[in-house]
Assembly symmetry: C2
Homo-oligomer: 379 residues x 2
């Protein structure tokens, strides 16, 4: 593991960095203030960079194997090409999911397991991007990674087909992988796709309902299916490729799921109160879109006077002068505190699950750094 945990030696053994995360989560962060101190984030950034270097060739080879019609959509979506086919220097996202696959494999099986899991990591990234292509069509989202979404450039049909093809490529990568875990990994990834679809269905169905017709359990279940499932699957695949037993695979899945939920909770907090300048999301964005995000639903279902006020505000069309008022209502109804407490609680559960499967803190360090990174969103 030492090979990719460049900062491990700065901390005494047995002192995981996670209490820092919990502290950060519980301390209200004023909008615009970045959460990245000098000591955190660097390790995760290095892990992500290494994951990209390992996975990119596999990912590009898979996309290059596509017929031209879908290749150009995929290349555009990944940020490798402009719409006209000229090269682009854009980024294909932060590669958090493949990094989790590799970090989980390394945590349970060392560098050799990490190397063996590169195809599985690429498969997870292909599935992630297939769902992004399709979700953008369904949600009519026009922007992704600061660029027009694929369907706005190539039309619905080609975006749907490119997504279909990326799913097929993902499962082909695993089917062609001679590793003894590849069959179990493929079954698990296919199951995860079904869960992602259920999460996306719940999301679109919920957006059609009134703001007071959604329960907190529903929105938590949706976030777990839509965000937690693939992060959990990524970690579970890494464990499978390390030859881990059923219990450890399940623990790694639970670690990823809980970290994924923590991530979503923090993302939703940022969607209301703003976050580090580099996230690109202005404060109030989710409120303006009348999104039933986790803090909003927690506020709406709090039974407080502020909840009733918020419900009234959410029933009206958005007006800029009402934004601060709405923000305050979510806060007074306890939406922000609840989300931050929940995020801390989920991270606690994640750490607990990880400790079950990987008791050695040094081995667990890469996964913890990634979990911390996604919940801080410092870059």
């Amino acid at each position: 593991m030492a090979e990719f945990l460049t900062e491990t030696k700065r901390r005494p053994r047995g002192a995981p960095r996670i209490p820092g995360v919990l502290e950060t989560l519980q301390r209200p962060r004023p909008a615009g203030e970045g959460g990245s101190g000098p000591a955190d984030g660097h390790e995760a950034v290095a892990i992500l960079d290494r994951a990209r270097v390992s996975v990119d060739p596999e990912l590009r080879a898979a996309v290059e194997s596509l017929p031209a019609s879908m290749r150009r959509v995929a290349r555009y979506h990944f940020g490798w090409e402009q719409a006209d086919g000229t090269p682009a220097a854009g980024s294909a996202g932060k590669a958090i999911r493949p990094a989790l696959v590799l970090a989980a494999a390394a945590a349970l099986g060392g560098p050799r397991a990490r190397s063996a899991a590169v195809r599985a990591a690429a498969a997870v990234e292909l599935v992630h991007n297939f769902t992004l292509l399709h979700d953008d069509v369904m949600d009519r989202d026009t922007s992704r990674r600061h660029r027009p979404t694929a369907w706005t450039v190539f039309g619905d049909a080609d975006a749907i087909l490119a997504g279909d093809a990326l799913q097929a490529l993902a499962l082909r990568l695993l089917a062609e992988d001679p590793h003894p875990a590849s069959g179990a990994a493929a079954a698990r990834l296919a199951d995860c796709v079904v869960e992602l679809c259920a999460g996306q269905h719940a999301d679109t169905a919920m957006e059609k309902r009134g703001p007071t017709e959604v329960t907190l359990d529903e929105v938590l279940a949706m976030a777990e299916a839509k965000t937690g499932a693939l992060l959990g699957c990524a970690c579970a695949l890494g464990a499978l490729y390390a030859g881990a037993g059923e219990d450890d695979v399940a623990a790694l899945d639970a670690f990823g799921r809980q970290a994924g939920l923590a991530f979503q909770l923090i993302d939703d907090v940022i969607g209301i109160w703003g976050g580090p300048s580099r996230t690109g999301k202005p404060a109030g964005a989710d409120l303006a879109a009348r999104k039933k995000s986790l803090p909003v639903v927690a506020a709406l279902t709090s039974g407080t006077p502020a909840a009733a006020e918020l419900a009234e505000l959410y029933a009206l069309p958005y007006e800029e002068e009402g934004l601060e008022h709405t923000m305050l209502a979510v806060e007074r109804a306890g939406g922000r505190d609840w989300a931050q407490d929940q995020a801390a609680d989920r991270m606690g559960r994640a750490v607990h699950q990880l400790a079950r499967a990987v008791p050695d803190p040094e081995s667990a360090d890469g996964l913890l750094a990634l979990a911390e990174f996604v919940t801080r969103r410092s870059t």
Copy 2:
């Protein structure tokens, strides 16, 4: 094999029924006249019935494993349920693809291989139905198997998600199958999905072009990708499950592909001049929709005076009084003869490929009966 070839003994050995098919293909059939004589079709119908009995439990179990939101869309699409969730007696289609998987397995490996290939047969049917769900969304087709398409009932998002989930279920079935061929089968099926997507892309892209801007090679390649690929893959999967070597798997794939092209050619002939009453397609349907079907493109690219006339007619919006004139122009430009000759040629190639892998006519009989059935469309 005798177990499912109930009519084999009526014919002397070594006298495959395929010359009958070729004859039928070459004899112009007046609109409305059914192609089913008393002697043909029965065997194929029995094979299809047996395939449905074998595959249905696997297919239903897979669909039942879906979360409720996608299960209802899938149940409706398969014709098992009405839109309101009440049971329907509808049919899930003719099950030609699963029947080809099972017949190919039986032809190369006997009844034991046939039994072992049931999951693979269900996987192929799941992939077929995933593409139907998505194609209907992209093509805005409102009717499928005499019922409103899924997207018209449940909306685009749920139809796309149900399709995504069916693809995942298909590949999960193979990933969970302990059969030694399941990995190779999954890789082949995933490859086929990519080809199906390319075929659908070519189809939608071609429909946007002018009638004289499409070449015959393009439309043949599109038909091979969109129709031939999955029929070929079905046969190849059956061969893989029978433990066949690379050459035999390739020959079975080629058999299915060529039979699939013959099927598409005959289907396109029926789409212009009508066919057996039970096909449900009225004469002229494809001309009314200005479809660039195979006989039309053959006619348009024939360099005859009738070709120029047809191009002019196709540039105008459809009017009922012009239909007979258009039909006649396709015929005079040689579109019908070309399609029937091509279908016969493709069936000849299919039979040749099959004979390479399965020299014993009795063993080949089930596959031949199915190929004959799909190109006659007698039911």
